[in-house]
């Protein structure tokens, strides 16, 4: 048996090694293709096979295009591109203007959002309408579109000036602010010593297979069914047991092991505007509510210092 396991382990190791080396190889490949002299060298040298040289310069061209695109995207944050709608009945021959919004949090680009516009009015060629988009519903894209893009049909009289730049800018602001808030709450959880997302989800799944029931008021507070866990919370120092927030991070809830709980309202820019702190009996804790007001970051420290 042991030999089978050993072999399996070895295979897994080798697979990982192969994947590693392949990544390294493609990395080296793109570095080589990005070298500035390469294209001129390819032109100068007389290659035996002209076809191969064409292919080589195509690959080089592709790499340099990619480099330029990535640099633009990384630096500008909002970039535009053109695509074609494959629908044969698409308006305006399927010409689509895409706007791409990059989100970088903590030094990495974590997500990209697209808004695709078409031109529904054959006479007013500059009027854009959102055709498709990948913005999640918790971002207020519709009010933004109402504000910066003129309505297509009836609102022609109250038509607002179309301002694609402002639209892109404010949409990006909304999206980035949302991601920053999400990241900030995740950091709060780290600060409070709560397990990270994956283990938390697994734990919850074990504890509540049909989800957390929200309207069982009768025996609330007996939250921890595990004997050991209860002992730990009773004896140990009071600590935060959960930090929850809604999808758009406009509200966060904090629960302590001694039954205290708090609900705070978060502004879009990550400020906590107000909060309600209550003891287990439902009595307001005013000084904590006062201390909570401020940036989302450092909330745990502020409310811990009690």
């Amino acid at each position: 048996m042991s030999t089978v396991e050993e072999l399996d382990n070895e295979i897994v190791n080798i697979r990982a090694q192969i994947a590693n080396l392949q990544a390294h190889r493609s990395n080296l490949g793109s570095i080589l293709l990005s070298s500035p002299q390469l294209s001129t060298r390819l032109e100068q040298r007389s290659a035996s096979n002209d076809r191969q040289r064409r292919n080589a310069s195509k690959v080089v061209k592709k790499q340099s295009d990619r480099n330029a695109e990535n640099v633009y995207r990384a630096c500008a944050g909002v970039t535009a591109y053109k695509v074609k709608d494959p629908d044969p009945n698409a308006v305006d021959d399927g010409n689509i203007l895409g706007v791409r919004i990059e989100v970088s949090v903590e030094g990495r680009f974590i997500d990209t959002y697209h808004v695709l516009f078409n031109r529904p009015h054959p006479r007013h060629k500059t009027v854009l309408k959102i055709h498709k988009h990948t913005v999640p519903p918790c971002i207020a894209i519709r009010p933004l579109a109402n504000r910066f893009l003129p309505m297509s049909q009836k609102d022609a009289t109250t038509a607002t000036e179309q301002d694609l730049l402002k639209f892109g800018r404010s949409l990006r602001k909304e999206i980035v602010a949302w991601h920053l808030r999400t990241a900030a709450v995740e950091r709060l959880r780290q600060n409070a010593g709560l397990p990270d997302k994956a283990t938390r989800a697994a734990e919850e799944q074990r504890k509540h297979p049909v989800g957390q029931v929200l309207n069982n008021f009768v025996s609330d507070g007996e939250e921890d069914s595990d004997e050991e866990e209860r002992r730990r919370t009773r004896l140990g120092p009071v600590k935060i047991v959960a930090i929850d927030c809604d999808m758009s991070v406009s509200e966060i809830q904090v629960t302590w092991s001694d039954g205290r709980s708090a609900t705070m309202k978060v502004m879009k820019d990550g400020r906590i505007e107000r909060g309600v702190f209550r003891t287990k009996e439902g009595v307001r804790i005013l000084d904590m509510s006062k201390r909570a007001i401020g940036r989302l970051e450092g909330l745990v420290e502020r409310i811990r210092a009690s």
Binding site: G29, K62, N70, P88, K132, T134, P136, I141, D246
Partner: protein
């Protein structure tokens, strides 16, 4: 009907969690007959936790002492909940059939009845085990425009909310306030951790009494659906509604009316003074919860269906710091553009490939071409086993009948040739399709617009169309966009070859 010792009078209370239905109740029997062994075991353990004991008290030894003179039962009553937890843990660790667990629950530990809480959690467990069992309709909670504050709606400020505020307890209390005068109901609201969803189950009890006896006695009519489900995807304006029915169950008029009453109470429960909500149809109905999550969920994919899915799953553009162009996954990258300029694509990618294809003959290259066209039209959507299939898709064609049929097949780019691109399809007039805007059709009487309705049905409609494109049955390049499912609706009207859309922004 059933005589009860205590006084039973009409009241204004909800049905509490702890009210019990007898284990012999048909509803209970049916539900527990369907649950799997592992689900039953996990449910039983969950019911026995301290938190839930008030609602799911098992039959213990002390109870046995009270009802004197009872004949010996099949299962010996346990002495404490802890003992029971051990028993169920033990059952979990060994193998066995599900009947063993079911009998122990119904005839042993809960022989005196299954509480409403247990019934509700068990039904939600069943729903999660079989996410394709119910038929869901997506609605949207839309704000009713306020005449006074109309200008404020336009602004997106630091604190403005564009979604209805979902505070579980408040919504629950408001809903109960709306419904209790009309009917008695049991509510269970639960937030899932595995999916971004909040489920509300409303068990409708059509009676003025909320007592246990009236609950037990009223369940004679089994054809009425008892429960209505509402699901809120977190952070979205949608609500999914389903009438909990089992297979083949006929829903009576009465049950429908009750359901409608509950549904109409939902927007009221969300409304506050100065911000009123109403439920707006989103013309989306399916049995698959997976499809609901993708098209009416809280993620990026709502307004990017069909071929546009490549924008949502990041296959259109690489990560900004990904500079590697030599990787194999290149073929996916251009995605959308592939349908239009795949020749230049393949040329830039692999020179030798072209040669090989030429040698294999035109058939292979054509199949390859069709595959790439399908990839361009459908993107990463409409895969056969992605669990997101729609089982029914209906459209009504509002375009004028093509007058010049001769020219149809050849000149596809011209406007009047468009309807002919559909002419080859197998259209089946469906009486089920709704006809709302027939007046409008009469208006443009200069062209003859017959009432043509097309219904696609199957286990996964768009995967089927994709397969037809790949096989060459449907011309992928001339196929109208609504056949790729990019509109994200299950019922729609086609005008000018496009599904009509309401509103300025899709998907919100």
């Amino acid at each position: 009907m059933a005589p009860h010792a205590s006084i039973t009078a009409p009241d204004y209370r909800n049905i509490p969690h702890s009210h019990r239905l007898p284990s012999s109740n048909r509803e209970v029997q049916r539900l527990f007959g369907k649950l799997s062994r592992s689900s039953l075991l996990s449910l039983a353990q969950q019911w026995l936790t301290k938190k839930n004991r008030d609602f799911c008290r098992p039959y213990l030894f002390s109870d046995q002492a009270n009802d004197a003179g009872e004949e010996t039962a099949a299962y010996e009553a346990a002495h404490s909940c802890e003992e029971l937890i051990e028993i169920y843990k033990d059952m979990e660790s060994r193998r066995g059939g599900r009947a063993e667990v079911r009998d122990r629950i119904l005839e042993g530990d809960w022989r005196h009845g299954i509480s409403m809480y247990q019934l509700a959690t068990a039904e939600i467990q069943q729903l999660l085990d079989h996410p394709n069992a119910l038929r869901w309709t997506a609605k949207r909670l839309a704000k009713i425009p306020n005449t006074k504050g109309a200008s404020r709606d336009m602004e997106v400020t630091s604190e403005s909310e564009h979604l209805p505020r979902f505070h579980a307890q408040t919504v629950m209390a408001n809903l109960a306030k709306e419904l209790t005068p009309l009917m008695k109901a049991h509510y269970l609201l639960t937030r899932l951790k595995t999916m971004p969803l909040t489920i509300l189950r409303v068990y409708v009890h059509d009676s003025p009494y909320s007592s246990e006896a009236s609950l037990a006695s009223s369940n004679q009519s089994t054809d009425a659906a008892k429960a209505v489900y509402f699901i809120w995807p977190n952070g979205s304006p949608f609500v999914w509604i389903s009438l909990a029915t089992h297979l083949g169950q006929i829903v009576g008029e009465e049950a429908r009316t009750l359901r409608d009453t509950v549904v109409s109470a939902i927007p009221k429960a969300f409304s506050r003074s100065n911000s009123r909500y109403q439920l707006v149809s989103t013309t989306f109905t399916t049995r698959k919860l997976g499809a609901m999550l993708v098209m009416r969920g809280s993620g990026k994919t709502n307004a990017a269906g069909g071929g546009w899915s490549i924008f949502a799953d990041n296959s259109f553009s690489q990560n900004t710091l990904d500079f590697i162009t030599t990787a194999k996954a290149d073929a996916l990258e251009k995605g959308k553009a592939a349908a239009d300029n795949e020749d230049t694509m393949s040329g830039s990618k692999q020179g030798p490939g072209q040669l090989k294809r030429a040698l294999e003959g035109p058939e292979a290259s054509q199949a390859d071409h069709r595959k790439r066209v399908a990839a361009g039209r459908f993107g990463s959507s409409a895969k056969p086993n992605d669990g997101r299939g729609l089982e029914r898709f209906e459209v009504r064609i509002d375009d004028p009948f093509p007058t010049n049929v001769q020219q149809g097949g050849e000149a596809m780019d011209e406007d009047n040739a468009r309807p002919s691109s559909r002419r080859g399809r197998k259209g089946r007039p469906s009486l089920l399709d709704r006809s709302e805007q027939e007046r409008e059709e009469l208006d443009n009487a200069d062209n003859w617009c017959p009432d043509v309705r097309i219904t696609f049905s199957g286990s996964h409609v768009f995967a089927g169309i994709r397969q037809l494109v790949e096989e060459g049955v449907v011309d992928g390049e001339k196929m109208p966009g609504w056949m790729t499912g990019e509109a994200g609706v299950t019922t729609g009207a086609v005008k000018n070859g496009r599904i009509r859309t309401k509103g300025s922004v899709p998907g919100v």
